[in-house]
């Protein structure tokens, strides 16, 4: 059994190393497929971070009339928290709002002076509400307006920002969908191209397959080396594509930061190093082996 396996590995390596340009061409295709795969991963990371960033910026603020008693406001808070669409509700009291406001404008002399001249706190208590999905703000807003809390509130920001929020939630939705379609399409393309290339390589070997059968080679000894060759393609493809892709992303990462300050691709690369290498290997080997297997079934008549 050990001799048998070592022979299969030897033949597989010989097929690969002596195939010269056909092996090289197949390898290039697999590398391209894997680079596409890597680009998809990074594309997903970029869209996810940017969308998360946008989503984070959306919220509804409910401004209460300054005279509203605190326990009434807490009732509203509780009621909104109970909604299934709500992710988080933050209560900011008048005093807290003032502190935040002062902190934000401490360098602005005019505002500081104006505040100092006022005896009273001019700010209203606020509830900042975040929904789980951007599309759910409408539900929360209508809930706020429908109830008998209306006399308590001074202003609800949703209506002001409605168009922006709606548009954003649509963009987020479309980006997610397009991203998914793009991923599926590109992955399929990569698989089909690789499959064709490997099939062609094995098809060109059909005479050799015939000779091996004539000498009395069992099917396992004929197909085994092609499997090994597929694994070699996968491993080498993964290594080469990473060697190309890694420096490119590493170099491009600082530029990406201009657009998306929260996105640190370099950190992402290092954090996910093993996962990325693993994906590459699994995807590469699967591509190589599945394609080889298909082609063998087709030309070997097992």
């Amino acid at each position: 059994m050990a001799t048998f396996l070592s022979r299969i590995f030897k033949y597989g390596w010989q097929n690969f190393s002596r195939g010269k340009w056909l092996s090289a061409a197949t390898l290039v295709i697999i590398v391209l497929a894997l680079v596409v795969f890597e680009i998809l991963i990074v594309f997903t990371v970029i869209t996810k971070t940017s969308l998360a960033l946008l989503q984070d910026k959306i919220d509804i603020s409910v401004y209460f009339k300054p005279a509203t008693p605190e326990d009434e406001m807490f009732k509203v808070k509780k009621a909104i928290e109970a909604l299934p669409e709500t992710a988080q509700v933050e209560y900011i009291s008048r005093d807290k709002a003032l502190t935040i406001f002062k902190e934000a404008h401490k360098d602005d002399v005019a505002i500081s002076q104006a505040l100092a001249e006022l005896n009273d706190n001019p700010l209203s208590p606020v509830l900042n509400i975040k929904a789980k999905q951007p599309s759910q703000y409408a539900t929360i807003a209508s809930e706020l307006e429908r109830n008998d809390w209306k006399p308590l509130t001074q202003k609800i920001t949703y209506r002001q920002n409605q168009t922006i929020i709606d548009r954003l939630s649509k963009i987020i939705d479309i980006t997610n969908r397009v991203g998914l379609i793009l991923t599926v399409l590109l992955t399929l393309t990569a698989i089909v191209i690789t499959f064709n290339t490997v099939s062609l390589a094995i098809y060109s070997n059909r005479e050799e397959i015939g000779i091996m059968r004539l000498v009395g080679a069992p099917n396992s000894l004929i197909s085994g080396p092609y499997m090994v060759e597929g694994i070699i393609y996968g491993v080498m493809g993964a290594v080469i594509s990473l060697a190309l892709f890694w420096p490119a992303i590493y170099w491009a990462a600082p530029y990406m930061k201009y657009f998306l300050t929260d996105l640190d691709l370099r950190a992402y690369l290092f954090e996910h190093f093993f996962a990325l290498v693993g994906y590459q290997l699994v995807f590469g080997i699967a591509l190589g082996v599945i394609s080889s297997n298909f082609a063998i079934q087709k030309y070997l008549k097992i």
Binding site: Q14, I211, P218
Partner: protein
């Protein structure tokens, strides 16, 4: 050792064409049999039936006690390892060296690495290719390629070597070297079946001649000669 019992083989491609009809033939161990006949007479079909590449339409082909026509395709490799086959177009593995091509037959048979290292050079020496062991087939002449094929065919000490027009692509000098080699192998006890349409070879050999014409055995003589019908 090999016997054909009322074998017929028809090919069905649109219309039925008869390749072999009513073949009865017995080949004993140690014999040197030449199969003669014009192109298309049915020699290659006969060879294909022996190695199980084709199944007979009627009748039985028995090789070493087994009915080849009834063998399952996964049992065929075992049969083929007991036979050595040599073809006009050499059929060497282009990505393997001479040594590897010959060793392949032993590896297929599951022989040990140590044994392979020992036997392959001996056989290559016997066919006069010791110097060429690490060349690839594309670097060899036709005669050399055919000697590699013969080395591969005999390496597992088969009961029989079947050579289908082995000299068809060779010049006269190489032709005689191949024939001498086959004779030598036969003298060492291996049965040889040689299909050829070369009159010179048949007449010079003076062995058993089976003449085939239009799918039928028309003559079967010991110490026969090539007679054009």
């Amino acid at each position: 050792m090999i016997s054909f019992v009322s074998v017929a083989k028809y090919y069905n491609n649109g219309s039925t064409s008869v390749a072999l009809e009513d073949i009865c033939l017995k080949i004993e161990t140690g014999e040197f049999v030449t199969l003669v006949g014009k192109s298309g007479a049915g020699k290659s079909t006969l060879v294909k039936l022996i190695i199980g590449e084709e199944q007979p339409t009627r009748g039985k082909v028995i090789v070493a006690g087994q009915d080849v026509g009834k063998m399952r395709s996964r049992d065929l490799p075992t049969l083929r390892r007991k036979l050595g086959v040599v073809f006009q177009d050499f059929r060497l593995l282009p990505k393997k060296t001479v040594h590897e091509n010959v060793a392949f037959a032993m590896e297929v048979a599951g022989r040990a690495e140590r044994e392979i290292k020992e036997v392959v050079p001996q056989v290559l020496d016997m066919v006069g290719l010791a110097e060429r062991a690490w060349h690839f087939p594309s670097q060899l002449s036709g005669g050399e390629k055919q000697r590699v094929a013969i080395a591969r065919a005999m390496i597992n000490r088969p009961m029989v070597i079947i050579a289908d027009e082995p000299t068809g692509n060779l010049d006269p000098v190489n032709t005689w070297e191949i024939i001498k080699l086959l004779t030598k192998i036969n003298e060492l006890g291996t049965t040889i079946i040689l299909a050829t349409h070369s009159k010179d070879i048949v007449n010079a050999l003076g062995k058993r001649v089976v003449s085939i014409d239009k799918g039928k055995v028309v003559r079967d003589e010991k110490n026969g000669r090539y007679i054009l019908s």
